[in-house]
Structures are given as structure tokens and as C-alpha cells.
Symmetry: C2
Subunit: 277 residues, 2 copies
Amino acid sequence: MDKQQLFENIQRKKSFLCVGLDTDVNKIPEHLFDESEDPIFEFNKAIIDATADLCVAYKPNLAFYESLGLEGWDVLERTVDYIRTNYPDQFIIADAKRGDIGNTSAMYARTFFGNMNFDAVTVAPYMGEDSVSPFLTYEGKWVIVLALTSNKGAFDFQFIPSAETGERLFETVLKTSSKWGNNENMMYVVGATKAEMLGDIRKIVPDHFLLVPGIGAQGGSLQEVAKHGMNAQCGLLVNSSRQIIYASSEHDFAQKARAEAQKVQQEMAGLLDELLK
Amino acid sequence: MDKQQLFENIQRKKSFLCVGLDTDVNKIPEHLFDESEDPIFEFNKAIIDATADLCVAYKPNLAFYESLGLEGWDVLERTVDYIRTNYPDQFIIADAKRGDIGNTSAMYARTFFGNMNFDAVTVAPYMGEDSVSPFLTYEGKWVIVLALTSNKGAFDFQFIPSAETGERLFETVLKTSSKWGNNENMMYVVGATKAEMLGDIRKIVPDHFLLVPGIGAQGGSLQEVAKHGMNAQCGLLVNSSRQIIYASSEHDFAQKARAEAQKVQQEMAGLLDELLK
């Protein structure tokens, strides 16, 4: 999917919501285990069917699937296929936080883009250009580089100022890595818990899309994110995982997930109206 | 496996070699595909049987297994089981370069330590303490944090000096992260292509084990690594992947792999003799 298509989906759906599929076998409704031999996939399917018209992206978190071994990997593959087949306008992100030397990153790229048909994969920047560039060789695919994350540990290294440039590490990551690709094949992860930082970030990457985790369970404010981070093509994908997918653990879990997604989407529609009027 | 056991294995085998199982379906001998329905596992098994007395560790590179989908994940699990069952004195490293927010890193830890019984997993430091600490809660298991990698991209960020301390980023990573655990549950990845840096690194982490990739195909020198990096308990695991496992693509691939491993082991024996005399 290219940038223009993504923006058109955002305009049409009046949403820049990404639903995080952090599907945890210990948190999904118990009745699914009684009713299905394939409860994890059934959960994903129900969540996707209930939210697909309200969001523009899904983001399976690889850790949750890997922790289930072969079964998890199989559910992941079928989930991507299910979205791709039934909701072809969705942007599908492998939240994998990969990154290794060139020949190894090339293998990861093959996994997520060649084998599984994700649109994007999240990548950690620590190992530099040759750990990221193999992901950029796939036409129409995206790399989403970690810049400023939403967790407490973000303060350990990401804010260290450089003695050479005065820039904080996350700013150097943005400046340097933005030269490896362009705003048609790269995005950045920017945590919503630091929404005021989005202004600084927009000075460096005005036109890139930003994937913003941390709305909801992690505590960020959507209005603040939009105020500081939105650009002329929206430029934001805001992720919510737990608050939506675990809105209920009863038989109504999918309806409740839809209601939560709708709340976010309606707020987004208002923010987009401001942008598009 | 604890540090003392690892050191005892190194002394007994006169080796600190780690064999990297970067098993690439496009590089393993073609005859294996004719002779077996399980060629990737058969390759690993043959390499392991041919080298187990010459090395103290194996390091499957996750990317190579993930790129094969379900089959690859299955081969990975059986490879770990095979080593664990037949060569219980081996230290098994998941070269996964993971790292995410706390609840997600906890899932990765469960995958590699709870489900698969690896001894250690490589982790990227960019997201800070809460991305690493979930791996430290498993008794007898290890985190191996990326400090200074062996690739060209290492120069993009890892050498940036801090305006606050003057330390380069990899030094700050070492200083800060070494407080999260101790030298009984943490190691560091330090590329052999920058062996002279090992002296600087030893000033910060004198007692930690260092996992050193980059011998062989990536061009580092074993003697230089030992000179600058060895400590009283050896403190080194030196990895070689391609140079050993792809020494031949003919029927003699396992013997040739053994011969390559033996060359390295014999050089290591000489270096250890110096240390232990």
C-alpha cells in the first residue's frame, strides 16, 4: 500500500486507528476455549470483523504469537491472510522490533514481506543502516523505525544528547535514518506518552507517517497527539491494543471491542474534520 | 547454566567457540534435499554431531528459521531439543535481537526460556531497562545485550559521544545496563571487527562474558580478540557461523565443518594455555 492509498483510507473511514492484536491466551474470553478448537484465531477473527470499518490498520504483536510456538505462528499467518482476504484496504503491521546485520535482516524481510504479506514491520535502529535497508528493497512495503518509545526505559538512552550535534539520540535516529529511505517507505514509532515531543519530531520528519502507541492503557492523549503530530496527510497511525481487544471477557467481547474502537474513531473523525475542512 | 559451569566447560574442552547455526535453505548441501524429508534438521544435526566436542555453545539465528515459516519454527524447536538431550553441556543462545515494552519482552522471555529452553537470548538495548529486565527473571538464564556490533551500521549510532558524560553510546549502554543485572545473568555482544575496542569495554565490564561475532566471514582476528578481551575466567564466547557450517556443500560438509571448527579450537587452546598456566 502506498502513502496516498493510506491517506485515502483515512479520509474515507474518518479514522487513523490501528488496532493492536496483542492476543494473549491468558486474557481472551474463556468461553472461546469451550466453543472452538481454534480459540486464538476465533478471537482475532471476531475482533477484526467487529472493528474493520473503524480502523485503517492492524498490528499483530509478534511476541504474543511466538510465545505459543508452532500454533501461534500458524495463527499469525492465518490472521494476516484473513485480513488480507476480507479487508484488503487494511494496512498490516508486523510489530516485531527486529534488526540485525544485513544478511540476517534480509531474512526477516523475507519472512514478513515475502512469506507473510505484511505491509510494514517495526525495526530497532541500534545496529544502523545495513540492519534497516534490507527491508526497504520490497516495493510497496514499509519499515517503521523505533525513534521515541512509550515505555519508561525510553529515558535510558533515547534522550542522551550528542556531544557533536547537541541532538538527542532519538533526533539523531530520525535525521540519520530518514536518509536511508523516504516518507513513502519509512515511518517512525513515537510514543504518545511524550506527545509534546511530537512537535520536535515534526521539525525533523514533517512528512513521514508516525505510528503512535500508548493511547489508552499506556496513558497518552489523542488530542495532544493530533495537535502536535498531525500533518497535511494526517501522518498518524494511532495504535490501541488492550483497551479495545480486552474491553470485555464475556460473550459480548467483540461488541464491546467495537464500542471502544468506535469511541476512538469518533474522536478521530472530529480531529480529521479540523484537518480536512 | 551458571558462569562457573560455563568456565569449566571452556577449560575442559579448551575452547570458547560458539557455532552459529545460521542455517540457510539456499546454502545447505543439495544432496540433503534428495536424501531426507527433513533436510534442514538433518543439516543441523550433522553439524552439531561433528562439532559438539570442539565448541561450548550453539547459536541458532532466529531469522533463518522464521523465514521458513512453520517448518522453520519446528526445526528450531527440534534443534534446541536435540542439543539439550545429546550435548547437555552446551550453552544454547537464541540470536533473536528482541526488545520491546515490558509485557511484550516478558512474552519473548517465555518463548525462549519457558517454552524452548534456550540458555540465553540476544536483546537490543534501544528501549531501555524494562525491555531487558523481563529476561532476567529466569533463574540460570542469560540476557546478551547488544553493545558494539560488527556491522558497518554500528558506526551510525553506537559511537555517538554523550554531551553529558563524554562516553560513546555503546559505553553508556554497558555502564547503564550492567546495573540491571550482574555478570552471572548478563553478557554483551561485542563485534570482533573492533577488537581494539575490547580494551575500553573491559574497563567498564571486566567480569562479564562477551559474545563476539565477526570471526571468519566478518573478518575479525581471534588473537586480537583474546589479547584485548580475555579475563581470568576467559570471559569470551567467540562465534563463527558461515566459515564453519558452509565449509563444504558436498557430502563431506560435516567433516569439513569439523575441520574448520578444529582449526579455531586449536588456536583457542593455545590462547587458553596462556591464560591458565
